[in-house]
């Protein structure tokens, strides 16, 4: 195996010395040292906002470090922009792909490296080179397909090919598995190992510790902009890494109920043959049927974009169903009997939206203003047509204190809070209304580990109070630890239902790819 990065015995592909970077107030990186040996996979873990992406952006030339040195293959380099990085042999695969959807794979790979006035010339050369790369690294893609027609995993391979086509010897992957099914992720790791065998150095940025344990040789932990540890992966464990990331011990909890709910428990949500066809005529939800009992958490698993978002929007009244109906807290809703989000709120159906920055709050508003979003017409916030600003501020401060939102300043702009604190504020706002049905989307996406615990506890607390909870999440671990029952959505349909207690990850992963019934496909 490759030597550990810390020992410094192998030839170093990357060496960072004393890198510091601040953005205004935020010290994104503080005096960071890093050594990565050639031909190894190095993981960088850390919470959101720990400085991982900043560090890699410095390496790729998006940002300039305030101080510090970058050495590539032992030579000091100055990276001012991405073309310097490419020249130094660094390639980057971003979390959100930088591909032109309406171009073919070939055109995307050539983009910016056409090399000749006539495209046909370079296209032929690129096609040959792509074939070679594909054979060498087991990176098969359909060269002439449009990117928009490709599955996500293949789009990602296109990104990797783009980097290799530019002779990258160092590959940086930023949260590469966020959008992949577990099976696609496994495929990715096969590719990464093949690359490593050929001497490519790989940096893997992720917050998923399991992946670190599975594929990396060495790992570094960032916490609040500082490098707190460099470790050999085989000498560490997930729990040690988690503690290093958070800076304190974490308990693993099992939230499952001891006793199943009595069979005659009333339903909080009952969905019957629900269908949604969008404006373009595409079916978003197809014949959906399920129910959520009071005091039960139903987890909705699925790869992002398989109808979960539409489901939340329909159940919360933002969209109307086009066929079928549902009964939510006693109120029947269908295409003929639509309902709007305000009425839903009055029915004590509260919704913590998936996309908190777009839906859950208004970025330019103060926290106090965001804390009444959806409740701006409530009597206690209005007096003779005017908003009672001091009441709103006081109420906001109470919400903040209740769920430990920091800083507890109602006058601060909503966008200035960290993701976790924004989420806590939204959760506090919705829980304050004592929901009888709670719709929760991605409650902990982009949220620090410390806040995750608190958010999970709050959700469980609501369950124990008899609230019917629908939980949509792309984090399987989250769904498995919270949900009493799990349904799996695929292309707008429920393809499977399992008991939360019995669920296992591989099985769920196969269900999410809709491959569980037909392994041959």
């Amino acid at each position: 195996m490759s030597p550990p990065a810390d020992s410094g015995t192998g030839p170093l592909a990357i060496e960072l010395r004393g890198i510091s970077k601040r953005f205004g107030a935020v010290r994104a990186n503080r005096d960071i040292d890093l050594k990565v040996a050639r031909g190894t996979i190095h993981g960088i873990v850390g919470e959101n906002g720990a400085g991982k992406s900043t560090l890699m952006s410095i390496l790729y030339g998006f940002y300039q470090a305030d101080s510090g040195e970058v050495l590539i293959n032992g030579k000091l380099v100055a990276i001012h922009d991405s073309s310097d990085a490419i020249a130094a042999g660094i390639g980057m695969v971003h979390q959100h792909f930088m591909l032109v959807d309406t171009f073919s794979v070939l055109e995307n790979v050539m983009l910016g490296a056409e090399g000749n006035a006539l495209l046909s010339h370079s296209a032929a050369a690129a096609r040959k080179e792509l074939q070679r790369l594909a054979d060498e690294y087991q990176l098969s893609v359909h060269v002439d397909s449009l990117v928009s027609d490709l599955p996500v995993g293949e789009q990602q391979r296109t990104e990797i090919l783009k980097a290799l086509y530019r002779h990258a010897e160092i590959l940086i992957l930023d949260e590469p598995t966020g959008v992949l099914t577990p099976q696609e992720a496994d495929q990715l790791f096969v590719v990464l190992n093949a690359l490593k065998e050929r001497g490519v150095t790989i940096i893997l940025i992720t917050h998923k510790l399991r992946e670190i344990m599975d594929v990396t040789d060495t790992v570094s932990v960032l916490r609040m902009g500082e490098m707190v540890s460099h470790l050999n992966t085989r000498d560490t464990s997930m729990s040690e890494l988690a503690e290093l990331m958070v800076g304190r011990k974490l308990e693993t909890r099992n939230y499952h109920r001891d006793e199943p709910l009595p069979a005659d428990t009333a339903n909080g949500i009952e969905v019957v043959d629900l269908g949604v066809v969008d404006k373009t005529g595409k079916a978003r939800l197809k014949n959906l049927s399920f129910e959520v009992k009071r005091g039960e958490i139903l987890g909705v698993a699925g790869v992002a974009g398989n109808g979960q978002s539409t489901l939340l929007e329909v159940l919360s009244g933002i969209q109307s169903p086009t066929s079928g109906h549902f009964i939510i807290n006693g109120q029947q809703v269908s295409a003929e009997q639509p309902i709007n989000p305000s009425q839903m709120r009055q029915l004590k159906v509260q919704h913590v939206p998936e996309d908190r920055l777009k839906l859950g709050l208004v970025k330019s508003f103060t926290a106090a203003e965001s804390s009444v979003l959806g409740y701006q017409r409530a009597d206690r916030f209005n007096l003779r047509g005017m908003l009672r600003l001091s009441t709103i501020r006081a109420a906001c401060r109470r919400l903040m204190e209740g769920l430990d939102v920091r800083p507890a300043d109602p006058n601060l702009r909503s966008a200035s809070f960290s993701g976790g604190n924004q989420q806590k504020l939204i959760l506090a706002r919705e829980l304050e209304r004592q929901p009888e049905v709670l719709l929760v989307g991605q409650p902990t996406r982009g949220v620090d580990i410390g806040a995750i615990e608190l958010i999970h506890e709050k959700i469980i607390e609501m369950r124990d109070k008899g609230c019917a909870i629908l939980l949509v999440s792309v984090e399987l671990d989250e769904i498995m630890s919270l949900a009493d029952r799990i349904i799996v959505m695929y292309e707008g349909q429920v393809v499977a239902e399992v008991n939360g207690r019995d669920a296992n990850k591989t099985q769920l992963g196969l269900m999410m790819a809709n491959a569980h019934q037909d392994p041959a496909a």
């Binding site: 601040r22 953005f23 996309d355 859950g360 208004v362 701006q376 601060l412």
Partner: protein
């Protein structure tokens, strides 16, 4: 540039105080260069302009009379802007607002007392302006027709309608110029020199009338409406994020239509100043581009009533002082004055944030970064 300065908040006195002033200084600097190029002493020119705008009571009257128009149209643009709508139709809405005033007064000025006529005229100006904005708003809300396109086209339609009506229908019989008859004096909004005269203050005649007071009342109204009522809250939510508005149960269509109607009514109030206050009859082209200048006023005033008052005053100075300048210095033509106005619009509007990164950098030198952005 390594620091993303746009994400660093500045205190209000820098953001809406210093930066706009710096922008104007820049514009004046370049205007000065142009004047030097044609052999005019810029210092002397600025002196003439200031004197022409503030030097004597008639000048002040004219300056504030222009300011009044800009406040109305600036507020109109600002209200729509907070709902993320770009109302370029202020010109047409003001024009049709004038039609409302004209119709009401032509019908009723012989029969009703002043105390009823004045409020009726104001209401008519607002209603007609709002109605003219309602159509593009409805088209935007229900049919997705872009408000910029439709409001611009509605300016042309308004203009054509007014020409037709004034030439063929409303014209005072037996005259050549397309104007209505003069309204009865009971429909005139009192001139400021008259009002001040009642209190024993002698000032020279100018077109300034009580509309200025009404404009300032509108500023307070807009401020309260936008920042202190739930309707304003919903309007801003919808303007900032349509998704958040829908999540909150706010209907974006209703917001679009309400915001545009309020905006149109404010633009329509230009007719209160022009028709009720100054001309006392309906005539062609009384809007004279105030609706378009309102866009620059609102941009410069950062869509805030206080900023709009200051920007309106500046444009009032430019109009009145500029006219004086063209009169006093023969080498400076009317077009040159328009060029200076153009520079101010360029630096304060299109390039409004050009200097901001440097201001942020200087600011950060005096203030530890850690206090500026909450971690």
């Amino acid at each position: 540039m390594s620091i993303n300065t746009s994400s660093i908040p500045l205190p209000a006195w820098l953001e809406i105080g210093l930066i706009p002033v710096l922008n104007i200084v820049m514009a004046l600097f370049f205007s000065g260069l142009i004047m030097l190029a044609i052999g005019v002493n810029p210092i002397e020119a600025v002196g003439i302009m200031i004197n022409g705008a503030f030097g004597y009571d008639e000048a002040i009257g004219y300056t504030l009379y222009y300011t009044t128009n800009f406040i109305f149209t600036g507020l109109a643009v600002a209200v729509a802007f907070h709902a993320n709508l770009f109302n370029i139709g202020g010109e047409g809405q003001a024009y049709i607002g004038g039609l409302g005033v004209g119709l009401v007064f032509l019908l009723l000025d012989k029969y009703l007392p002043m105390i009823l006529l004045i409020p009726l005229g104001i209401i008519a100006a607002g209603l007609f302006g709002a109605a003219w904005a309602y159509i593009p708003a409805w088209l935007q809300a229900h049919r997705g027709s872009h408000i910029v396109i439709t409001t611009i086209m509605f300016n042309f339609i308004a203009s054509s309608i007014m020409v037709y009506l004034l030439v063929n229908v409303l014209i005072k019989p037996g005259q050549m110029s397309p104007e209505t008859r003069q309204f009865d004096e009971s429909a005139w909004l009192p001139f400021m020199h008259d009002v001040l005269g009642w209190f024993g203050m002698e000032v020279t005649r100018s077109p300034l009338n009580l509309s200025l007071v009404f404009a300032l009342i509108c500023c307070v109204f807009v401020w309260v409406y936008i920042w202190r009522t739930r309707w304003g809250y919903e309007l801003r939510t919808s303007g900032q994020s349509e998704a958040a508005a829908r999540y909150a149960g706010i209907k974006p269509k209703t917001v679009i239509i309400t915001a545009m109607c309020v905006s149109g009514a404010l633009a329509g109030f230009v007719a209160v100043n022009e028709i009720m206050g100054v001309h006392h009859r309906l005539l062609l082209n009384f809007t004279a581009g105030y609706g378009f200048t309102g866009i620059a006023v609102s941009l410069m005033g950062r869509n805030h009533p206080v900023g709009i008052i200051m920007a309106s005053l500046l444009f009032g100075v430019l109009y009145q002082g500029g006219a004086e300048l063209a009169f006093e210095i023969p080498t400076i033509t009317r077009e040159m004055v328009v060029a200076i106005q153009g520079l101010i619009i360029l630096f304060s509007g299109a390039l409004a944030l050009m200097l901001r990164p440097w201001v942020v950098k200087v600011y950060l030198k005096f203030k530890p970064v850690d206090e500026v952005v909450p971690a």
